[in-house]
Structure formats: C-alpha cells, structure tokens
Amino acid sequence: MNVDEILSALNNEQVDYLLIGGMNFLLRHLPELTFDVDVWVRDEAANLERLNRALRKLGAEWGRTEAEWRPVPDDWHWLQSQGLFCLTTKHGALDVFRDVRGLEGRYFECQKRGLTSSTGTGVKFTGLSDEDMLTCQEALPAAEQKQTRMEVLRAAIAKAKEQLR
C-alpha cells in the first residue's frame, strides 16, 4: 500500500479529513502492525462530494455485499448510506469514518487540536491529537483496546504537559 498516494489524492481534492487509527499512531509514535489507512471526514455534502472524487481517482471499490463489490459510483450520495466504509483502492485498504466512537459530533473540535505533519516523502496530513486518540481507545470495549498504544499515548501526553510547565 502506498499511503502517500492515498493521502495525496485526498489532499489534491481538498477533502477535509483527519488521519486516525494505527497509521496516525505509527507516524507519530511507534511502529504498529496496521494494514489500512483510517480517515475521519467532515460529514458535509460538499466534502463528501470531494471525497467521492478522490476515491474514484484512487480506484476505490465498495459494495453493500461482497457480490455487489464494484468501483464507487459517480454520484457521491452513497457515502451517506452508513457511518463507515471499508474500501479497497489500487493503493491499499482505506477506511472512511463519518463519525468516530468516543468523539461523536466533535469533528471541528478535534480538527482544531489535530497535528499537521508530513510523511517521509513530504505529503502533508493532519492527524488526530494524542488526547483524542486516547479518547477513542478508551471508548472501545475493553477487549478491543490496544493497551500498548494507550500507554504510549498517556506517556506522550504526560510528557507534553511536563514540557508546558
């Protein structure tokens, strides 16, 4: 998977998104086994339309069932049919979230706290802050929480607070 290509496509179409999940954690903290890119998109019609354009450029495919799996349609309204989508693209797996558990309805707030950075090849992205990543983990059922990630996040938050003092 070429993560740069996925992020570039979103950037080129000016999609308003936040990088979340394992890839965001990996880019900021520690290597973690993760095989898809998770993005949280601003859930507004114009943004979903731009997202759909980016997805089509990425060769994204999705279906209501595996039998209906096919390239995403021209009309972006399918993106309003449910809260999250696990897609394939020619550059790898992409998960699109219209809302995120633990942070429901707080996209703008999280975006303000988000950290803008760039990948090794210089592709810019804004990722969920450490505090918000931790909130997401804490909202998961205990069996699904990633303990190492939570410990690292807590340590990073504590360190950042220490430095502010």
């Binding site: 740069d4 290597p31 095989f35 809260g83 394939t88 558990r101 990948t119």
Partner: protein, 243 residues
Amino acid sequence: MNWDHLKREEERKRDAASDPAQRWIHIQQTITWAEANLPPHLRRNRPRQPRRTSFDRSTLESKGRSIAPTLADKLGDVAQVSGLAIRLAQASRAGGRLPDWLLKVAVERGAKHYQRPFDSTLPPDNPTITDEEIGVALCLGQHPYNLDHLRAAAQLLSSPRVSPKRLGWLAVLERCEPVMLHIAEVAARFGPDLEPWSYLRGHLAPRPVPRTDALPHWSRLVSHTGVTAFGGPPRIDWLARSE
C-alpha cells in the same frame, strides 16, 4: 446495526471481495512504507551505536592523537596519508571534523538510512565535491573505524548518478579497493547489474588485506522488510541511494 457490528461486517465484506494476492502485495508495500516513515531510531535496521565501556581504547588520547583504531588498523593494513582527505578537509572547511562532515553530507545527498542529528556547527555541503569523492573519503583507512561510514558510503554510491570509472580510479588512488570490492561483492547478491558495483567487480584489481571481518556484514547493507504477522517470506532489498 450497531457500530461494532457495522465495522466487523465492513471488514469481512472487504476481505471476501478483495483479491488475496493483491492484498498481500499491499501488506508488503505497507510494511515497506511504514519502515521508511519511521523515525530513524525506530527502524529495525537502524544503525547501532557501538557499546562503550567506561574505559576503553577510544576514550584515550595520546599526545593529542586519538588512539582509537583506524579502519586500516582493523584491516591489518597500513594507512596512507590521503591527499583526498587533505583536500576535502580544506575545501569543506571541516578540518579535523572531516569524518563527521562526510557522513553528514552523505546523508544529505541520499544515504537517508543513516539520518541522525548532526552537529549544527559542521560546515554546509560543498557542491564542488563529487559524490565519488565523498564515498571514497568515507572509506579511507586513516579515519577512526566506524562501520556506519562504510555503510553510508555504500548507500550514497548506489546510484546511477555515480560514475563507475571515476569511482574505480579514486578507489585505487586512495587505496580503498578492499572496501569497495567488499561492497561490490555483497551488492552482487542483491542486484547483479547494480552500478557502480558491477563495473567495480569487473575492473578493480583486488588488493588483499590481512583481515576483512571489520567490513560490513551483508545484512548491514540492506533493508530487511516484509517480516509480517502472516509469516510471509521476509524481503531484503539493497539499500540504494534516495534520489
């Protein structure tokens, strides 16, 4: 449908719909990409600092000269006073800090695997000094032994922008044939046609030295990628220069 159920169902559907071979390729690419994007100190194949005891040879100084072993010492060879080193020390304005400056410049020019914080007071790169000169100078026998210098030279020189002829000529002039041929032999295992190494194997006359165990093991000149939770075969790539 609740959130967890939806997520699980979406993932199941994608797994069922996607081509396993394609997915495998994407997983391999993800690992490679992730490795390249990790901070250098977290990479699996990161350069390791040599362990230091509280009292060792490298901490001693005698009459202003470090008695840390040189590369030539390690090879059982005699170090010559290099004309190239004198010229580069002047041209770069690095003086006695030439080895550090060479490593910094090699990294800036594309030996990115060896990225690390460098002394900010080191002089900037000098574009009049060629890549071949930087690469050969990193392998001079007179420098204190530092495996990373040889590794960085290998990555810097693994580029189509390097002139094999000029590199070979400089290697003979500066008595770096053992190091260059060692790297060239290792490169043959991963890319038989990889230049400038292919040319050096064919044209550089060997100059045997008593010991070669101080030269980098093949595993120190490659990137190991593709070790996955799925038990797939690891992928080993020659560390070419980041152009």
